[in-house]
Symmetry: C2
Subunit: 134 residues, 2 copies
């Protein structure tokens, strides 16, 4: 519980790798997977998501691959999680899914205090950028 998913880890590893070379350098999914011994297909999908979100640029074809679309200090960990996980990292589901998701909503007594925790958590993720993990 309360762990980052492998997808997010892999995404961060890939982004950090790209951030080490000059902006615009192209990397293939295969090359990145090999370098860190990550499952190729999975990493490819993650990169595709990041591409759709505009965090990396993708080039198709034989000399294709991925390159960073933004500076590393513009990519927050929160964004990466958000894109890969397709949801913000919430402490309780009623924050993401809404009141209907939880039959306890009416009687739940810990929602407000957890909300405070949540906001603090968000700040942590928002403030951390890929730049910092280089």
């Amino acid at each position: 519980m309360l762990q980052l998913s492998k997808k997010v880890e892999y995404g961060l590893i890939a982004l950090r790798h790209m951030a080490m070379k000059p902006l615009g350098t192209v990397f293939t999914a295969k090359e990145l997977a090999k370098e860190y011994d990550l499952p190729y297909e999975l990493l490819a999908k993650i990169l595709q998501k990041l591409a759709r979100a505009g965090m990396v640029r993708s080039l198709q074809g034989v000399r294709g691959g991925y390159s960073l679309a933004k500076r590393a200090d513009e990519l927050t960990v929160a964004d990466v999680i958000n894109v890969i996980e397709e949801t913000r990292p919430m402490v309780a589901e009623c924050y993401t899914e809404g009141p209907e998701s939880c039959y306890l909503f009416g009687s739940c007594t810990i929602r407000r205090p957890l909300g405070k925790l949540q906001r603090n958590l968000n700040v942590l993720f928002d403030e951390m950028t890929v730049q910092e993990i280089v």
Copy 2:
């Protein structure tokens, strides 16, 4: 991902409920489960764990039940998670399981930065007590 487990939620709800009445008041698992419509057996186990950890006192027998063993401001959310989940809430498994758990350990480039995130996270949980959710 990155959510508190139901167990922790139920535990916090129960502790908070107990913290509302004078210290020493006894509550049965059944009564607590009914009040918040939580699954009885599950809540019972959670309370047993909290009892073994010395956070609540348990009384067996017909007039038995549970009562808080400490003041609400002495019970941190971190402790509650720790006891119920039997592990600290870590952002990546290599922090809980050790280096052997992750075949990437040698090549992993995001461990250190995530460690920083982890420490910040710990502070959040350490600083929040049951008192604050009353």
